[in-house]
Symmetry: C2
Subunit: 148 residues, 2 copies
């Protein structure tokens, strides 16, 4: 079995483990990714977020709906162009980002438990090299994108 298979195998495993962990905050991985995107570019339009994540705008509506109902994000109308909805984190959303960060660090540590600090650094370098070569957007999970 090739290394790329090991990569998908471990990637799926890590994704499943993260889904379980983040579920304790009542979040799904797509919701978490969207929160991260909003935190990184506050006030973006839904179109811009859809573009960044590589997903249909229609999917964003439902995702934003869910987060808005829980008071984690809010849509603000732009007075200059009333078609746009600028999406922002609320205070509760900002506070939740800290929890997400903690969960992510714990997840990272659990997945890489078998490696010592030097090995982790080496792994990070190798994966970073591959990710850059493959054209992956830093911080954006490719699970939003439709394959074709």
């Amino acid at each position: 079995m090739g290394s790329a298979f090991l990569l998908t195998q471990l990637g799926t495993h890590a994704a499943q483990a993260f889904a379980r962990r983040i579920g304790e905050l009542d979040l799904t991985p797509p919701q978490t990714g969207l929160l991260r995107a909003i935190a990184g570019a506050p006030g973006s339009s839904q179109q811009a977020l859809a573009e960044l994540l590589g997903t249909p705008a229609t999917r964003l509506v439902a995702l934003v709906d869910g987060l808005e109902q829980r008071g984690l994000v809010e849509r603000r109308r732009n007075p200059n162009d009333r078609r746009l909805h600028a999406v922002h984190l609320t205070d509760a959303g900002t506070a939740l980002m800290a929890d997400i960060g903690r969960v992510a660090r714990a997840h990272d540590d659990a997945v890489l438990a078998a490696l010592d600090p030097d090995e982790r650094t080496r792994l990070r370098e190798l994966l970073g090299k591959v990710a850059a070569d493959q054209g992956l957007t830093p911080g954006v999970h490719p699970g939003y994108k439709t394959l074709r």
Copy 2:
């Protein structure tokens, strides 16, 4: 962003790329994994295959149906216990395994294009260490398993 995120990011990317490639053989990744499992343990019952892959037996029925209709596998009744269906590759199925191997090698090479042979070896060692520690079954994709 932690290394585990890089891992899920790259794992998903590699899985998507593999799905595209293997689609050229008119196969889905789950079908490919099942073919591999059957090749590795010919004559297994569907229950045994379901157990190995970590998936409900009901899901196997549909998967085997699809492969059987294409003449890639066949169900053989066991005369001693007529409840069991031993699943085998046909000649066409065996031939297809060679094509799958070629696709997998090409995929591997494309994903790891950024790394030289030494780096690939090093990556393989590190990933193998993590996979063993995380209790992953060699050759079995965790995508079959239900998360809870």
